[in-house]
Symmetry: C3
Subunit: 286 residues, 3 copies
């Protein structure tokens, strides 16, 4: 028969098809009023589509390997189904310890690499806000709609394998990673631009999210959020730098990074605004 023929020809089946599971068919409204349920779902999108959950909040997800974990689902932006995959509030000061560097040995939010997604969403929320206030108090929210992640392996873990965030991978501008146009959910190009320092504003255009930007010293930054770099001083407007910073002088506690080069939150020279420095950045997949 057909199986025999194919197997004898050395053609065993090999399938990788995660985002669209043809075996999953919704069975009705199964949401539960009394607390979170352990759904068998790899992403917030699956919870929305298969279990009809439409409220923002914490949900249980299960990875391909059966790891159960909890994360925040944005069930409202642009149709909902956005999975929080990583977050941080100090990326501007973490050049030696990059929360987005896939070749590090750190532990990861399972969603960071387990989910196969098409688009990303980014939230800037003021520090020290509880979850229920994240959406209403966000100072910037935007998402992509180009399905660009499908081209780069389906998540940032895969994207950064293709565009490593480390020293000496290439030239500024020439070897930067992809830049993707964004759609604003809160704020616009002008507010995006205004978060950065006046000198930095001359070096980028708002309206994009950009990955792996290289500076004039050949060090790399992970994300330029809300902008596309047009210059080489990417330290002043990109975050999550990683790899080797050559000849970098060790800095003392209390010093600031390039985001605060001309004073903390002064919004002068290269210094970003206080609002941006005091915000956490949340990355979502969908």
């Amino acid at each position: 028969n057909q199986v025999n023929a194919v197997i004898e020809a050395g053609l065993g089946p090999q399938i990788a098809c995660f985002a669209h599971d043809q075996f999953s068919i919704p069975k009705g409204n199964l949401s539960e009023p009394d607390g979170p349920s352990l759904y068998i779902a790899r992403s917030c999108q699956e919870i929305r589509v298969h279990y009809f959950e439409f409220e923002d909040g914490l949900y249980y997800l299960t990875t391909e390997n059966g790891v159960v974990y909890q994360t925040f689902c944005d069930m409202t932006t642009n149709g909902g189904g956005w999975t929080l995959c990583t977050l941080g509030d100090r990326w501007t000061s973490q050049q030696g310890s990059n929360p987005l560097r896939p070749d590090g040995d750190g532990n990861w939010n399972p969603g960071y690499y387990d989910i196969k997604a098409q688009d990303m969403s980014v939230w800037y929320i003021p520090n020290n806000k509880p979850m229920k206030d994240w959406n209403p108090t966000a100072i910037l929210r935007y998402h992509t709609e180009t399905h660009f992640l499908s081209q780069y392996g389906g998540n940032l873990y895969e994207l950064y394998h293709r565009y490593p965030v480390k020293y000496n991978v290439g030239e500024p501008l020439t070897n930067n990673g992809p830049s993707i146009p964004i759609v604003y959910d809160h704020g616009d190009k002008e507010t995006t631009k205004a978060f950065y320092g006046p000198y930095a504003q001359r070096e980028f255009e708002p309206g994009f999210i950009s990955f792996r930007a290289i500076n004039l010293e050949r060090a790399a930054m992970a994300i330029c959020s809300g902008i596309i770099p047009k210059g080489r001083q990417v330290d002043a407007y990109c975050i999550g730098g990683g790899g080797h910073f050559p000849e970098a002088a060790p800095k003392q506690c209390g010093d600031f990074t390039s985001f605060a080069w001309n004073g903390y939150g002064t919004h002068k020279g290269w210094s970003a605004s206080k609002d941006m420095l005091e915000a956490a950045v949340l990355l979502f997949y969908c």
Copy 2:
């Protein structure tokens, strides 16, 4: 003294005794009405025995290393104390990415390797059911009673170290892993058999759970659930295949595996029933 004598003789103490902790003595009924409590327990069995929790649901467990995690406990089947150790709903289509392969680099549900157990239980539940409906809507539930896991290291992580699920580890039938008789909690041998395609039914006997089955191409599958293989077309009735599939042609999303070789859910030829294809498989330890 005695310690000196023994230590000087090179006999330092070395103990590994996890499942039965002689230091743990129940102190009374300590269950809490107001939400899950963080018990210091390595398994659902310990929660049942030491904390007198008898309801199915999510519980906190702590690993040997103090990792706190949550998983589902079946507190009713055959006396209760079954810990959900892994689950998946696409194992029939995951031959290159095996959720049970212990030599992969994936993250695991801590219970998969942390718990030392004696028996296993398996549930088939229709896709997209919330937790509260798992038990009542299961299409198949069975468990072992032979304490076989004790012979293979106490969990699947250890069992698969002894029986690696990879290419070219031996001959079909001759080098398959252990097959263990099962006791049915829902369904029976006939319903088990009926889930698989007519051609597949000629190649196995129901009433067992079998591990590491090898096909005629020397590729390996992780589990033959509910059956013992008597043939070489194990792709059609075993799941969680792993390792190298020689000369495999890449297939596109939307293709089916051997479980649906003669059409999706047709239950003809090698094709399994739609019920099986649209069910998630949950594995428990006790």
Copy 3:
């Protein structure tokens, strides 16, 4: 004295800038009545300071890499903000499988290595107590106030990189790790001493927590809790032994360690009290 000598022999001061985030400014009382909130906080201390949570219980924390996990926060002892970083109830019997050994390949509670802390707290709670009874039923609770962790990398993961818990790292007493004076929250030096066997009591002084103690066979133990070793039989009063125990004879389940060398819980000879053997040890950072 010996403590000073050991501390002064340690590594030079290292600046770690995590515990005090200059970008984080409290914005008001944001605690939520309806269940735990996903705060963006690396430690219980941050939750206390930035989100004004003052109740003991389970809280969500997020690691530097955005991993969301839950752990127990002690929000009351000495001002509060203590993060449970690891726990275990069988350390006296785990010499081949050390829950504190940083060079193992086990998974860890993220707080164990993610948090940068200054001090430690230790609780002994009777086995099989639910979380709400931990504090009131503890048989011993103490904490440090010297900020010693700052000198050793900010957590035990870093401390044990500097003082590896393995065979043949040095001589007893001469090469033991640091010993830090403690302040009692429940119990005192006399009750500490009384937990150990009469022979063991001759070999230590209470009122300290000590790290990496070496025995006369050159094997190492991770922690001497509540005491500073003055002898070489550290197996009888230190826990979490790791590394290679030379020529160790395998023992059967049911055997006891040195803590019960002269009978289980007899409190005679080298045997510790039944209360200590039947208690779990919880380690906190602050």
